[in-house]
Structures are given as C-alpha cells and as structure tokens.
C-alpha cells in the first residue's frame, strides 16, 4: 500500500515539477517516471523497515 501511494505521489510531484519548469509533454513524462521510481524505492524501504519493526 505504502509503495503504491508513494509511486503515485512521486509521479504527480515529478509531473508538477516539469510543468512548473515549462517542460513539454515528454519532459513531464520523464520527470513523472523518474520521481515515481525514486518514491517507489523509498516506499519499498519504508515498508520493509516497518514490517521488520512490527516483527
């Protein structure tokens, strides 16, 4: 769940960043994909840590 939420959050944030910097459609897609990957990995680590902490 955390992974999916973080991935979507990353995609939106990346798209917002590219749009703010006046990027074209491909720039928006690239930023959205890279931020989604980054946030997904952070989410994955968070999930593992929480799962381990909860035992």
């Amino acid at each position: 769940m955390i992974v999916i939420v973080m991935t979507l959050l990353g995609a939106f944030w990346g798209a917002y960043l590219a749009k703010k910097r006046k990027g074209n459609r491909l720039d928006i897609a690239q930023h959205a994909a890279s931020c989604a990957i980054l946030f997904c990995l952070i989410g994955l680590f968070a999930t593992i840590m929480i799962a381990r902490a909860l035992g």
Binding site: S34, I37, C40, L41, L44, I48, R52
Partner: protein
C-alpha cells in the same frame, strides 16, 4: 590451529606489503622521469593513484579487516573499496606511463610481452573482464565460501586480492583511451557498466530483503545468529546495492565524459587526416547534416538509458516480490 592462523596472517600481510611497496617504489622511480615528458604538468593523477592505493589497501590493513570479521556490513565495505573504489581511482590515474618508466628495460619488455599475450588480451576483452569483476564478488558471497574466507586469512587475502585485480583489469579498460588499438568501444563500456550495476542490484537487493540470516555460520562473527545479525546483513546488502551502484553510475558519467572528449578530439582533427572520400563523409559540414547524423544515435542512446533504468527498477521490484513471497 593458532599457528596456522598466525602463518596465514603473516603471509597475507607480507604479500600485501610487497605488492604495495613495489608499486610505490616504481612510482618514486618513474614519476619524475614521466612528469618531465608530460605537458601540462598535473599532479592530480598521482594523487588519484596514491588515494586509490591507500583505499584499496584499506581492505588489507588498518581497522577495516578486523571489524570486517565482526560485522558483515563492514566486510561489504571492504569489498566495495577493494573491488570498485580503489581500482576505479587507480585506473582513472592511468599510471601505466610512470610505472613503466620506473622499470628497468628488461623488466619492461618482459611485462609488456605478458600484457600483449593472447591470454591476457582475451581476459581483458569486455565480456571476460566484466564477468570476472562480477564473479569476484558473487563467488565470495556464497555463504560457504564467505565462512571459509573468514576462517582462513590466506583465503581472505586471495579473495580481496582477486577483487582488486579484477577491478583494475576492468576499470583500466573502461577508462582507457578510446584511440588505442584493442581499446573497448565506448558503447561496450557503457553496457558493461550497466551489467555490473544490475549484478550489484540483484545481489544487494537479495541480501537486503531476505528474512533469514545466511552468514551466521561465519566464525568469529560477533553478530552471528542474533537478531542483530539479520540487520547487520541487511546493512551489508544495502552497501552492495546502493553505494556500489552509485559508484558505477559515476563510472557511467565518466565514460560518457570520455566519449564526448574522444569525439571532440576526433572532430578537431578532421582536417589533419587524409582519409578516403567515404571516411570524410563521417564529418558533417552543415548544421542540418550534423542534426541528420546525430538524431538517430541520440535517440538510441536515450532509449538505452531509459531501458537501463527501467530494467534496474524492474529487477529491484521482482527481487522484492520474490523474497517477500518466499517468507
């Protein structure tokens, strides 16, 4: 048993000392001769070489080896410096010139003969060199091999020395000049770097995400069999995964920088060469021709980089899903 361990320790220490001393003596002898013929003078390469030697030496001397026997993650840091960081700095310094200058004529020709032999040339081609770099880590991460290396210092020395040798062989080809005969094509350099990144991610993700302790059988392990043991191994896996991959991403950037420089030099010298008519067409004369020539390769490069990143991401997710389903 204690005697055996002491002899192991002594032999490993002696071999490390001899190797480092030979390299330092050759540098002291050869660098002044070499630097007289190089313009502009720069000592950055010498600094990189000494830093690389010091860092790679950290896997053999100092606090790391002792701590590496107690903590799995420190041992992985040793592997990182021995296999990637130290060899990378040594190869970036391109010390061949001054090391050769430090040798006597007889030794120089003998070493040159060995380096030009078919076996060495075959080992230094892209596929075997990359395979050796990856295998030098994977073999010693097998729990049985890891425990044996922890128990016998000679074996540990062989493992770390093999990592340094595989690293130097790989990085010296990757950072070598593009114009030399037998030098790797830049595309091959990039692909091999991606292969190494993927191998780091695969092993690192597997060790980070696993739920059982695999290295608890290692003797002298402070954390063996405890709950701390698993988090120790998780941190170790993370070291294989992230910092190692980051170093390889730096390598990718350096390869692209070297490729750009190589192309620029080739462009600047386009009028000095007397090539055939078809070879002259390699160099566009107008902006339109340049765009026409570079559009395709640029698109392919962009696609390769995108596919590279997506496949690394896919490997991480696939490993995570597999490990989580196993436990």
């Amino acid at each position: 048993m204690g005697g055996v361990v002491d002899m192991d320790h002594f032999g490993a220490l002696l071999a490390t000392l001899v190797s480092l001393s030979v390299l330092v003596v050759l540098t002291i002898r050869g660098y002044p001769i070499y630097s007289r013929s190089v313009r502009p003078k720069s000592h950055v390469r010498l600094g990189l070489f000494l830093a690389g030697l010091g860092i790679a030496g950290g896997a053999f001397f100092g606090p790391l080896p002792d701590l590496g026997h107690q903590y799995f993650f420190v041992h992985q840091a040793e592997h990182l410096v021995a296999r990637l960081l130290g060899p990378m700095l040594i190869a970036l310094s391109q010390p061949g010139g001054w090391l050769a200058a430090g040798l006597s004529r007889r030794w120089r020709s003998q070493i040159n003969r060995v380096l030009c032999s078919q076996v060495v040339r075959a080992v230094r081609s892209p596929v075997p060199a990359t395979f050796l770099l990856i295998a030098s880590l994977y073999i010693w991460q097998l729990p049985g091999a890891y425990s044996s290396a922890q128990a016998r210092e000679t074996l540990e020395f062989v493992a770390h020395f093999g990592m340094v040798a595989a690293g130097i062989s790989y990085f010296s080809a990757v950072f070598g000049p593009g114009s030399v005969v037998g030098g790797w094509p830049y595309g091959a350099r990039l692909i091999t770097a991606f292969v190494v990144i993927v191998s780091n991610i695969l092993l690192g993700a597997l060790i980070t995400l696993k739920e059982v302790s695999l290295y608890s059988g290692a003797p002298m392990s402070f954390s063996a069999g405890t709950r701390f043991g698993l988090s120790d191994e998780t941190t170790g896996g993370y070291i294989i995964w992230v910092p190692s991959s980051m170093l390889m991403i730096v390598t990718v950037l350096l390869i692209m920088n070297g490729w750009n420089k190589f192309e620029e030099v080739r462009w600047q010298r386009r009028h000095e060469r007397r090539d055939s008519n078809s070879a002259v067409l390699e160099f566009p004369e107008t902006a339109y021709e340049l765009k026409l020539k570079t559009a395709g390769p640029n698109r392919r490069m962009g696609r390769t980089l995108a596919i590279g990143s997506l496949s690394m991401f896919a490997i991480v997710l696939a490993t995570a899903i597999t490990v989580l389903q196993l436990y």
